[in-house]
């Protein structure tokens, strides 16, 4: 049996071998055809195809669209496009590249390091690829290159568009800046726009430039061009124009923004102004700031280090991404929650001996001697802590937190800005989730005066004040129109809080700023048409140690800067028909009523009057000092700016 299998096998393998060899023969025939065809095309017909290759001239290039411009609410240019000049070099036309670069160095200023970098780049690229030697050169330098063209073969002056921010530091945090497309940008996109592959193309890196990238970028056009075999453009055959990006108008008033930024000066601070009826953000300043134009041009290492090492954090947009314990400004929320729960009315009083005792612990009022019997107006006006400790124990944290969220705290408001903070509006459930601990009495005590776990951003505080002032559930808005189409939001609905209660708290804030002896009295506005109502806050950034308490209260001035208290103030005006709400935080500034309140007052006056604050609105005793202070502010000269940028305002 096995032998038969064997013989059979031998016969069958011989058959396989025969057929395999036959197949090999057939394959050889095909290969011979391939070889012959290759020889025919590459050797016999080579000249003909070589000519065709030389004549092969139609190439399609993308035309980058003009990026949409960004304006303020009055049509003032914030981000525009500027023509810039650059010089490129092409190896095959230059011939001796180092020699040409050396000659170029005598025409325009170039460092040896730049030359070495260019030479290396030229060497790596193909002979006909042009490499940028110098970017953003002046018109003078450009003309000098053009005049010297005969002695600079392969060197071409070119014109391009690049982003410019004429209001430099004022809008650095809001609008952000653009930069070259990075590998990370490409990786982040599912279907990257072919435009992103164009060298020199720039996209938004932070702020509105990033978040509105799709609207701003526009659609690429294309052109069919005739090139010769080495890729030089001979002429344009036809072109399909692209769609330029949409222009944006922000809700911000550039002049107000400039005033706010200048008013903050060198402090590490931020201030946000909101229209209480529409939610339009009129100003959102964060100081210190930086010049976004540096980033567009490619910031130097030392400049960048200067920004990152500054303890005032100029790169951070404190208006939306900074979160602070709101301090006594939070008493607005505690009071509202208590009024709504019915545990107090505007006349019920609490006795303040200077401390509050519960569960064997003693919580101090900021005033060691106590305030005596306090009703709501008095407690707000003098910012009595004990009143709110007591009230908070009767309301409970969950109702306070619920009111805080209704007023806009503890949530991320959707705006086209980067790194918008959520803040913290703590309640029992939150603490269990975050710390896996039970809520304690002391936590409610701390939260009632905006300390402890509570964190809010200046934007949230401004929004809280706006909702209180108008009684409407406004949401913040930054973009007014896109491509000329007005983005009209529906009228904000009324808050679901009894308007009578809001009125009571507003009256408390009126007391703060307008009654003699109250915390905000010094920063009052005397013009009855623009009366301000507000609430100050001074929030601790450190725990007071037992040893410190024993030694007595240490003055803020004696502490190192970064351990001093934050100064806060929220306010709105006019009191009887509110228009604008402003919130200000000065990091480690000291007292809210002395440092932050004047800033809020000045900004409110600037917005309500539409010009520099009139001295008549200030108390008489302060006018001389304020006059000097206002005249010393370094404001931008917008009239000069308009004429300088007017030409390219609408390119």
């Amino acid at each position: 049996m096995r032998r038969i299998v064997h013989r059979d096998r031998d016969e069958s393998t011989r058959k396989i071998t025969r057929r395999a060899l036959f197949m090999g023969g057939a394959m050889s025939a095909v290969v011979a055809v391939l070889g012959a065809r290759l020889r025919y095309m590459q050797v016999d017909e080579a000249d003909q195809y070589r000519t065709l290759a030389e004549e092969n001239r139609i190439s399609i290039r993308l035309i980058p669209p003009n990026r949409g411009q960004i304006f303020d609410r009055n049509g003032r240019l914030i981000a525009g496009n500027e023509q810039n000049y650059r010089v490129t070099i092409t190896r095959e036309d230059a011939g001796d590249v180092p020699e040409i670069l050396h000659r170029l160095q005598r025409v325009i200023p170039l460092t040896d390091a730049e030359l070495a970098r260019t030479a290396e780049e030229v060497r790596k690229r193909s002979a006909f690829v042009s490499v940028v030697v110098a970017d953003r050169i002046s018109w003078d330098e450009m003309s000098r290159v053009a005049v010297n063209a005969p002695s600079l073969p392969g060197v071409t002056p070119e014109v391009g568009l690049s982003r410019i921010y004429p209001l430099d530091t004022d809008f650095a945090h809001i609008v952000g800046y653009v930069g070259p497309v990075s590998e990370r940008d490409l990786a982040a996109q599912k279907n990257p726009d072919p435009l992103l592959q164009i060298p020199q193309f720039q996209i938004g890196k932070i702020g509105v430039e990033t978040w509105m990238e799709d609207e701003l970028r526009g659609q690429a056009g294309s052109k069919r061009i005739e090139v010769n075999a080495v890729g030089r453009v001979m002429r344009e055959l036809d072109r399909v124009e692209g769609q330029p990006g949409a222009d944006l108008h922000l809700t911000i008033d550039a002049e107000v923004q400039n005033f706010a930024q200048a008013r903050l000066g060198g402090e590490s601070a931020s201030v946000v102004a909101i229209d209480v009826n529409t939610g339009d953000i009129l100003a959102a300043a964060s100081a210190p700031s930086f010049d976004p134009n540096l980033f567009v041009r490619g910031i130097s290492y030392t400049d960048y280090a200067k920004l990152t090492e500054n303890d005032h954090r100029p790169l951070s947009n404190k208006a939306v991404q900074g979160t602070y314990p709101p301090g006594s400004t939070f008493k607005i929320i505690t009071a509202l929650a208590a009024l709504e729960a019915g545990v107090i009315d505007s006349e019920s009083t609490v006795y303040c001996p200077g401390y509050y005792e519960i569960g064997g612990r003693r919580f101090h009022c900021w005033s060691r001697w106590g305030h005596g019997h306090m009703n709501l107006d008095g407690a707000m006006g003098k910012s009595c802590d004990v009143y709110f400790y007591d009230v908070s124990q009767r309301v409970g944290i969950d109702k306070i937190a619920e009111m805080g969220r209704r007023m806009g705290l503890g949530q991320r408001h959707d705006l086209p800005m980067s790194a918008i903070a959520e803040g913290v509006m703590p309640d029992k459930d939150w603490k269990r989730r975050s710390y896996d601990q039970e809520w304690r009495i002391g936590d409610t005590i701390n939260a009632s005066i905006g300390q402890g776990y509570v964190l809010a951003s200046p934007l949230q505080l401004a929004l809280m004040t706006a909702r209180l002032a108008s009684g409407r559930a406004v949401t913040p808005r930054l973009v007014k129109s896109i491509g000329g189409v007005e983005d009209t939001p529906p009228e904000p609905p009324m808050m679901d809080v009894n308007p009578a209660l809001l009125r009571m708290v507003r009256h408390g804030m009126y007391t703060v700023s307008n009654k003699l002896g109250m915390t905000g009295y010094n920063s009052r506005i005397v013009d009855p048409a623009m009366t301000m109502a507000g609430k100050s806050g001074t929030s601790q950034v450190r725990n007071i140690s037992a040893a410190e308490r024993a030694r007595g209260v240490i003055g803020n001035d004696d502490l190192p800067w970064n351990r001093r208290d934050h100064a806060l103030f929220v306010g709105f005006a006019p009191y009887d028909a509110p228009k604008v709400a402003v919130a200000c935080v000065v990091e480690h500034g000291g007292g809210g009523s002395t440092v932050a309140a004047p800033i809020v007052r000045d900004l409110l006056l600037r917005i309500l009057t539409g010009k520099m604050p009139p001295l008549a609105a200030y108390p008489e005793s302060q006018r001389a000092r304020i006059q000097t202070a206002l005249s010393e502010m370094s404001l931008r000269d917008f009239s000069a700016l308009a004429s300088a940028t007017g030409v390219q305002g609408r390119a």
């Binding site: 058959k15 197949m23 090999g24 055809v33 290759l38 050797v43 190439s59 193909s126 002979a127």
Partner: protein, 381 residues
Amino acid sequence: MSFLEYRIQTVPTGLRKALYLNWPLVLLLTSVCAVGWLMLYSVAGGDITVWAEPQMKRFVAGLSIMLVMAFIPIWFWRNISGVIYLGAVGLLVAVDVMGHVGMGAQRWLNLGFIMLQPSEVMKIALVMMLAAYYDWLPPNKVSHPLWVAVPLVLILLPVFLVMVQPDLGTAILLMGGGAVVMFCAGVSLWYFAVVLGAGVGLVTVVLASRGKSWQLLRDYQFKRIDTFLDPSTDPLGAGYHITQAKIALGSGGWTGRGFMQGTQSRLNFLPEKHTDFIFTVIAEELGFIGACSLLILYVLIIAFCIASAVQMKDRFAALVTLGIAASFFFLFAVNMLMVMGLAPVVGVPLPLVSYGGSAMMVLLTAFGIVQSAHVHRARDR
């Protein structure tokens, strides 16, 4: 039971198998891949990270798989041929049902860590299945009509599934590979004559169906045929690929334009220059000498496979080696015919040279089986 298993004592064992590998074949495969890396580097404009580097990494992975497979006895591969075939059919069905749509055709299956192209897997699976079938079938029955019908079904099932995708190129390659295994197994030549005649008839019918309600091919497929027959009718549209490819190829001359100096590829006249049309870049930049050298490398790979197959006494080993060699041959032959304007553009990559992980992995895996057959062949004492 395999013929080999009677003579197991003549087969090398353990690490000694490494000495019996078909080392010239390994060297040839590496050389072809190296040509691919050079050209991918050139096509990317002197940037290694774009295509060349990922391709090298995949080669290292593929080579490792090939060597591991070579160490596994050939009868193991025969025994699991049926399972692999069924698995590949399953994958094809899966990709038809829920596959990822890329470039207008659903061909890819996303397995999370790798994008798998089941039609690639099917190319080996089919060859293995048919080889195993003829190993099992007594040689005197191969030409019996009933026993010819079985392999026909085995071939036409995946061909149908691939056509649905639609991927005409792969369908043709599958039929070619299957036919070669049947041919080598000794199926009567009459059958081939009949099929050839039917094929000619079918082409006539297909061409006649154009524009009728029962049109058998998609419009774009007809368009490819048109442009193949006369590329000059539409030089900037459908004929663009072929015209530009021929110009690139022809302008290479004897010695080419020089490495990284090809204007056709540099100026982006060539489409798909890193995948299907990479041979034109080779021809343009390295000339007739370069292109012929690559062709010779390919021919040597086939020659070594056939030489190895005729020494084998095991039917499965011989048939699978021949089938894989033939599939490999069809790949480069169809690709080259296509770019030289002798065949319509059907979207077949140049094996081991074109950029693409799935195809290269599958090819190196296939050569792993060829190596296994070579290592475990019966030797006379």
